[in-house]
Symmetry: C2
Subunit: 342 residues, 2 copies
DNA sequence: TGTCGGCGCTAAAACCTTTTAGCACGACGG
DNA sequence: CCGTCGTGCTAAAAGGTTTTAGCGCCGACA
């Protein structure tokens, strides 16, 4: 490796031209009238010396750093944020951008710190992501710095990328109906009567609306609705175990997420019920565990990677901002079967 | 938000001093002999204007950007990298640094691209991480740019952070022995006879050495060793199901990772065996699923977060480089019990 | 009497790039 | 012969910071 980084001046010197000329040629400015051979000499010199422009110096002049900031509340819990980040990273890479990562842990003080740190580095834009879709209060940014919300919303920034939950909810119901279920379907994790007027999140509300809408369209109703606050396996286990002991007419479970479904599997096993023979299960997220379960869990996936990608495309593109809904994929595995007596 | 960013010149002007003076005062240079009141005026002006130094411009002069690069092969598979990144992020934040993330997917071409992109942004150092600990071929970096390997090794860079696998392996064995197991212990995922001379990774080799060392010290041997290539639930399930059908004297499973243990749980359930009454299980990683299983899986954790943190501390500190081993925590849950007949 | 160092500060260079303004020169139209 | 235009290129400024070199004055010291 060279001792010193080679600079534009080095290239220009070697080509026998001014740095201005070298700059213009390397940046392919259209209106210039430098000679053919000047072009050749500069390109040759740059190649021979292995010249790479200093992005920091360029940024100083142009106020563009080819760098975007990604601030999320949590990067680690589950691998949710991982998918968002991966998609963002890929889209950024394609646009020859690079991403600065910052984590806030949900604390607004750290968030302010993080934003300032990013701004100090002259980022070209910022995407704000949350792991559980929610309204985020984001301080104003200096003008000229665009922002897009990822799996979150903000009154300040209209550009938003969210999963398209309503059709997702409908799809889940349809999977059960198409398999022949019409009675004995229980909803796990959400109960309108128990949670009336409680705010979970905008996206969850839409998911529920989709589910109820599709049930209504088919003229169906749930045989039971279990309200669960924390959507973790333990609570899914408790609630489903209780439910299945109380009622013997439950044939299918519509779980609000995969971790609840995970607990439901455990409860079913406890009672000697087989999935999907005795009990069909469908849920949401396409979490890592969904593939590990046996039989594999059929689920409506959260399209994290696509969302992350879309967010930076929106940030970098000059499209008018708005709410963008990314379709949720149906991931069919083996947890749904035809209804059977028990 | 202000229309234009306030610059050092603005502060100096308002304080009635030169930018030089303002710079010296704000940076707290020790040898300077500017007056007390000059200090006050400058600090007051900076505070009133909300001045923040332009890190890019400063970096141009000082060749320090308070930015470090984090290049990993995969950011998303499992949430492994997530822990590494989180630790790194926290340590960086404490040192007022910020991290530039790049992903290579393991392809050396993308890696070279990523490194160049980071270097173009004048990062102060780079940490190279892999998800599965392995030797990484890293191209030379320009001098003055330090690097540390995280969960990976490189012949070029001696600074390395790895989990301390040998004691980890010993601890796993000790957990079983302390619970009273001496016979009927099976090793799942690794078989020396089947995999002689096969290279998995440096860390896995040490884990195995620890396991065998401790077994030998206690005068014990495995009742069976199942070689498994892909450490995924499906394969754990297949191997353990087969094993438990073949032999009825297996009382404890030492699994090479939590996903294999997950499969083992499923196999045990299939055969009507209860964990830990009929079968004790211990494994490695403290993966997310370990807490979801019932009973909770006792496991030797991979200290990802501490490793990530240590890596940037090493990168930023001026300590002499070497191999640093981070202790693996014993995470006791409920999957180990006293041996019992079957 | 000459020199030296301390004082409190500043002008200018340096970092690397892009952008603006313009130079010298020849050709060409009127 | 004068003005204009096109050609191929460069000097210099700009962007925001840090660093180096030094200025003008005064008191102390040899």
């Amino acid at each position: 490796m060279p001792r010193k980084r080679v600079t534009l001046a080095d290239v220009a010197r070697r080509a026998g031209l001014s740095t201005t000329a070298a700059s213009m040629i390397l940046n392919g400015r259209p209106d210039t009238r430098l000679s053919k051979e000047a072009h050749e000499r500069v390109h040759a010199a740059a190649a021979e010396l292995g010249y790479r422009p200093n992005v920091a110096a360029r940024g100083l002049r142009t106020a563009k750093t080819l760098t975007i900031g990604f601030v999320s509340d949590t990067v680690t819990t589950t691998r949710f944020a991982g998918g968002l980040i991966k998609g963002a990273l890929e889209a950024a890479e394609e646009a020859r951008h690079v991403v600065l990562l910052a984590e806030t842990g949900g604390e607004s003080e750290r968030e302010a710190e993080a934003i300032a740190a990013l701004l100090d580095r002259q980022v070209d834009g910022i995407v704000f992501a949350t792991v559980r879709a929610r309204e985020l209060f984001v301080p104003a940014l200096p003008e000229g710095v665009p922002a897009v919300m990822l799996n979150a919303t903000s009154s300040r920034f209209p550009a938003t990328v969210l999963p398209d939950e309503e059709p997702g909810g409908r799809a889940a119901v349809r999977l059960l109906v198409d398999a022949g279920h019409s009675e004995g379907i229980a909803l796990i994790g959400q109960s309108d009567t128990a949670e009336r007027d409680v705010f979970r999140s905008r996206t969850i509300a839409r998911r529920v609306a989709g589910i109820r809408g599709e049930m209504a369209d088919k003229g169906l109703g749930f045989v039971a609705e279990e309200s669960i606050w924390m959507w973790e396996p333990q609570h899914g286990y408790d609630a489903v175990l209780d439910l299945l002991r109380r009622r013997t007419d439950v044939r299918a479970l519509l779980c609000m997420n995969d971790r609840l479904a995970f607990g439901a599997y455990q409860a079913a096993a406890e009672l000697g019920l087989r999935v999907p023979d005795d009990l069909s299960v469908v849920s949401f997220d396409d979490d890592e565990v969904a593939a590990y379960l046996r039989p594999g869990l059929t689920t409506i996936g959260l399209p994290h990677e696509a969302m992350g990608r879309r967010a930076v495309e929106l940030l970098l593109g000059r499209e008018p901002a708005g709410e963008e809904l990314v379709p949720m994929p149906v991931v069919e595995r083996a947890s749904i079967g035809p209804p059977r007596g028990r």
